[in-house]
């Protein structure tokens, strides 16, 4: 079965907890029997869930360079971004995860609201419903631009616009 695919509607309960769709729970448990996952708040305003191994892979290179941190503002900012915007959680025996309050706020995931859980091949993302609509539109209009650019370059002239 294809892991981390599909688009589902779920509700966040009154305490900020989300019951994950079964298929996603299975995909995470397949990766890591303990059910530990990483929550990461994306700059585009959605909450990503990754397996621990997937996330560590993403962060490995930068964390090697500890001696440069003291003298680089950009490095400290990057640590802040990933540190503050990531935390680990464990899928409970009832298939629930608790979303930290600050992440809920930032991603506009209100308690007792309906959200969209999206498979992204290497994990899942939790989106506020309206934001997800906008993101789909953004993806679509970018694809149109790219298609246009591809056509233009194939006939070897500059785009019309």
């Amino acid at each position: 079965m294809l892991a981390f695919c599909g688009e589902e509607r779920c509700t966040i309960d009154a305490n900020g907890r989300l019951k994950l769709p079964l298929q996603f729970i299975d995909s995470f448990l397949e990766q890591d029997k303990s059910g530990e996952i990483i929550l990461h708040c994306l700059d585009e305003g959605a909450l990503a869930l990754y397996g621990v191994a997937t996330f560590k892979e993403m962060r490995y290179r930068e964390l090697q360079q500890q001696d440069r941190i003291a003298n680089s503002l950009l490095m400290r900012r990057n640590l802040r971004r990933f540190g503050a915007m990531s935390c680990s959680e464990t899928i409970s025996r009832q298939g629930r995860i608790t979303l930290p309050e600050s992440y809920r706020k930032r991603c506009a995931l209100a308690n007792s609201s309906s959200v969209v859980v999206v498979g992204i091949e290497i994990g899942v993302e939790i989106w506020n419903a309206e934001r997800w609509e906008k993101e789909l539109e953004a993806i679509s209009s970018y694809e149109k631009l790219r298609a246009e650019a591809e056509i233009n370059s194939s006939i070897e002239r500059r785009p019309l616009l």
Copy 2:
């Protein structure tokens, strides 16, 4: 469990003490059973907490070059900066640390005020709430610029604006 991650609100008590969130206490104790940590006042106006080993790692390279100190004002200034702006503390049995008055003042961490404690993967930072908002905005606008540049370069033409 992922060490030093997440974003939490805490209050500094009337005596300038901070009760650390449990997850951060655990992360520090895991590194060093004694609970000894280094407080370091950052130039961007926040207070960083590092494990002793982490801090020594950050300072190791520079402190090797003692022979150059006598002939370098910049080096002496750097020693001053790290010397004056760093001190050690021990996490108390109740999970509290006392923040020195001069650091509180410099980092705008007022007594009886609400502050933000941020995991930065290799330690934590304590931020004045408003300053943290500003820092997040700075990080976010940088990311947006980077994203825009990425899109533009991928379709190989200038932005429409």
